[in-house]
Symmetry: C2
Subunit: 418 residues, 2 copies
């Protein structure tokens, strides 16, 4: 039990007083959220900032429609990957010139896994954990397919740090687990890896934009992250990647497309990588998604990561406390850590009828998501989630658990995009 | 000289009568083009369809803003890569299930180059031509970096077919050259490659949407192409890739992201590729760019590739004939083939002051582009370019060539995105 827990409000009036004194209160009105919905899935697809609606309309009509090809220069589309990357750097403890926006999280993982392995040629092991977000493991599978001398070693999170050894080339971990929200100790793992001569690649998809991430404070090597979750870039927004400045000159992307060339508009036949972070670009940047992402990132920067993390922790603690108070089901169990220092900004609960429970919640306007076989997941995007939303969600959960007849099959699976 | 040439109109009235009887005439009004501009750069960034403006506003406001995470299922975002791919198949002579929209052209090149090389393990040569679009050569550089037993062999277009031999693993060519518009004989090169046991990968970036491309008619193996040129998908729109059905089961993408998994929402640790073309997906699809692309593709399908190619050839022939008639500069020379059967939908002219000429044309509202050191490039997107636009452009070119004082340095370079 921490400080937040001990002062948690237990009635709607007290909850509303938290909203009234919330320093991030005003950000709610800068998002377009549908009425009568409590949206607890911003960890999967972030909500729409009002500024984005106007910006995209302008980009389509004025920049593309009227400006046409001229907008690459006149609207500075060409530097948008670096400009938005520099902004994201401010959310993850990096410096300008260490982050760039490009491609998807999966493609960026592939670039950095390959670059890192080429930099550790004699080492045979790549270390990750079972149950890591699947695309991280799948990309490793693809990257190691043509390297039979190497193997992917999966070790449980609790033992992982002790498995880093002199044969470890690279450790690939998601800082906050996509399902349970369990958080790795970035500082300790990075330090141990460096002692052993290994590199670490962090996937920040479930932490950037919700927590205070401190890449350079932890002496991190490499990172990737998602643009459409807490960064609110819109569906399928481009992702970002981080390469610490000390590594940039020695690492090469296998995806050596023209936008990563030192002089892309010279149109010469031979490849020469750009000197800085731009060498990790590949093809032409996706302008609509990129400029949409910029609007989301601007709002987060205005809020600041300290305030975001503080509110994230309070939202989660309130949800935990209210579920304890209001939901008397003994079939519902918290899978996430109750300690906010060891957790990201979402909560996972197991329930044997998890799928039906989540369907019933969605029918009542409380949108979380379900992960097979039995996990309810509730995300708390600190920029637009109110404490009163948490109260409404737990009320709905209480009612569903009390009244639901489980007519649907247990352990059903629903398609969704995390 | 072909049939079109012999009947080319030589005055504005005759040119307007071509517009009046143009079967694609009505498509012009379905694009938002700025007034007083003649846009001859649709081969670099296609114009904005009016439907796209409305569609994107709806996607942002209703599908993302109000629908939130539910739209992956309820608006069928999840199947958009395949749905739009099936539509593009109708433009390039492929079948539904052979094309998918994903990532950028460069990333798709990387996937298919690696997949093809893995399928031809004993062969040492990858064949292309010098001066191919740079990203094609750069991606080959990256793909071959870790394969020291293999080499990239560049041979001039005219000799290339005779260089395919028993040691050729893969031929990588852009069907229509980005600069000169020179067109390879897809059928003959594919046939020779198959005789020798090699695969061919076609880059359709400068042909799809403007010409009648017939992949299956040529027995093609693999192809990629761009979404933001003649397909009018908007700046940085996602690209597409084609894998002939006979190859799909045996080829694997090195970029084995979760969207290419057979069951992406099972969230299992081990990778299993999807059975069909979906195995070439990687990360989460870029919804804004993808649905924007769909609007552009829908218009092209409505027009039909035969009508598009016919008008493309007429536009180019008219431009060539009018330049001959109206521009008396002996410093201007046609780099493209005068024979429309050996050429794509743009024309390249050399002029020693090419940069200054193009700047002056753009100042007069005629937008083409410049490629160092001396090339003027004019693209003729058949869906929205009028014959009268060609007349206006040549008038402007005539005036520029007559009156311009060349104060700017020769051979200057301007950044632009092809």
């Amino acid at each position: 039990m921490d400080l937040v827990q001990s002062r948690t409000p237990r009635d709607l009036g007290a909850v509303r007083s938290w909203d009234a004194s919330d320093p991030l209160r005003a950000f709610r009105d800068r998002f377009d959220l549908p009425p009568n919905v409590v949206y607890l899935d911003g960890n999967s697809l972030g909500a729409l900032p009002r500024a984005t609606r106007q910006r995209i309309a302008h980009v389509v009509t004025a920049e593309w429609g009227a400006g046409l090809i001229r907008s690459w220069n006149e609207c500075d589309w060409i530097h948008a990957p670096r400009r938005v990357g520099d902004k994201i750097a401010g959310l993850i403890g990096a410096e300008p010139g260490e982050v760039i926006v490009a491609d998807s999280t999966s493609v960026n993982l592939f670039k950095l896994v390959n670059a890192a392995l080429a930099a550790r040629p004699g080492r045979r092991e790549v270390l990750s954990e079972p149950g890591n977000f699947p695309t991280d493991l799948y990309v490793l599978d693809g990257a190691l397919r043509e390297q039979p001398q190497r193997r992917l070693r999966l070790e449980p999170a609790s033992q992982l740090i002790d498995c880093i050894n002199d044969d470890t080339a690279l450790v690939v971990l998601t800082q906050v687990h996509y399902k349970t929200a369990a958080m790795h100790d970035m500082r300790a793992i990075t330090e141990r890896a460096h002692e052993k001569g290994a590199l670490v690649l962090w996937d920040l998809s479930h932490s950037a934009g919700a927590l205070h991430v401190d890449l350079n404070g932890c002496n991190a090597d490499l990172a990737v992250g998602c643009g459409y979750k807490y960064l609110n870039g819109g569906p399928g927004a481009p992702a970002f990647l981080f390469v610490a400045r000390r590594h940039q000159a020695s690492l090469l992307s296998p995806l050596s497309g023209w936008m990563g060339h030192a002089r892309p508009f010279d149109f010469v036949d031979s490849y020469a990588p750009a000197p800085g972070i731009e060498r990790f670009l590949c093809g032409t940047p996706p302008i609509l998604g990129l400029l949409s992402l910029e609007c989301g990132v601007d709002l987060l920067l205005e809020a600041g990561t300290a305030a975001l993390q503080d509110k994230s922790q309070r939202l989660c603690q309130l949800f935990i406390a209210l579920v304890q108070d209001m939901c008397d089901s003994n079939e519902l169990s918290l899978l996430s850590s109750p300690d906010s220092r060891q957790r990201g900004s979402h909560l996972a609960y197991a329930h044997p009828n998890g799928y039906a429970v989540m369907r019933a919640l969605i029918d009542r306007g409380v949108i979380g998501d379900f992960r097979a076989p039995d996990t309810l997941r509730f995300g708390f995007a600190p920029l637009y989630t109110r404490y009163e939303d948490v109260w409404r969600a737990v009320e709905a959960l209480r009612d569903v658990l009390r009244t639901q007849c489980w007519s649907e099959p247990r352990y059903a699976v629903r398609a969704a995009v995390t």
